[in-house]
Symmetry: C2
DNA sequence: CTATTGCACTATGAAAATTATAGTGATATG
DNA sequence: CATATCACTATAATTTTCATAGTGCAATAG
């Protein structure tokens, strides 16, 4: 009673974890060290980042390359499966740029209703 | 100092919330009522589902249509901005079907290493 | 020589999000 | 008359994420 495995469901399970898409986005630009990645992702707690990276490494989306134990230098780099997420990121970027703009009130996210209403 | 609004960052912020992609996936098939959606999404707590739907409605990705207060009947349907997430779902589906398979050990998700290694 | 910075993280306890579970009121179904 | 269904809400427990501080040691700044 668990044989209804759906790869799409599983994929969503991976991608909807907090920070995963941000991490992937940064690593798509170029491989980074832990603190570097932490800064560029912005706002992610190191404990969470560490856990997320462990999971992604275990899953095989990200590779951890320990370049030197001392001075410490570790590189996180997308595996081919990780690089393949470029398609997803591209789609998210398209959607975001088309439909999301800053809320004129509080500067938070809201939908670009122009785009929604008047497809002139 | 907060004028670096990035629509892509904001889009990720929306899509990485737990259950959002699952909800969108179901609503892309067809509009549904609350319990219907709850069942088809599978495993989402009604409090969380309710909150997520509120947020998506507020954002403008989902529309709530109260068809009758009694007997209660509400329909959740994607707005055009929601339907536009089809591109994202498509990309996620492609990635999932290509790279994710059930782990032979425990039946959980893992990567399809065949795909990764031998691109014949 | 000494102080600071930077590396990759881990530890701790507090705060926030999600969960299981139960329940709302009324009607339609068995 | 008992049960199921609709769209949720309420409560309390659990899980996840968080802010903050700290590890050991080399390279750099003063």
């Amino acid at each position: 009673m668990s044989d209804d495995f759906c790869p799409v469901h599983a994929a969503i399970g991976v991608l909807q974890q907090k920070w995963v898409l941000h991490i992937v986005r940064e690593l798509l630009n170029e491989p980074r060290g832990f603190n570097e990645l932490s800064r560029s992702v912005g706002g992610c707690n190191p404990a969470t980042l560490s856990q997320r990276l462990d999971e992604l490494v275990t899953l095989g989306v990200v590779g951890r390359e320990v370049q030197s134990v001392f001075p410490p230098r570790t590189l996180y780099r997308l595996t081919p499966a990780g690089v393949a997420l470029q398609g997803v990121m591209q789609a998210v970027e398209n959607w975001g740029r088309t439909y999301i703009k800053p809320d004129p009130q509080d500067g938070h996210a809201c939908l670009n209703q122009q785009q929604v209403d008047s497809a002139s």
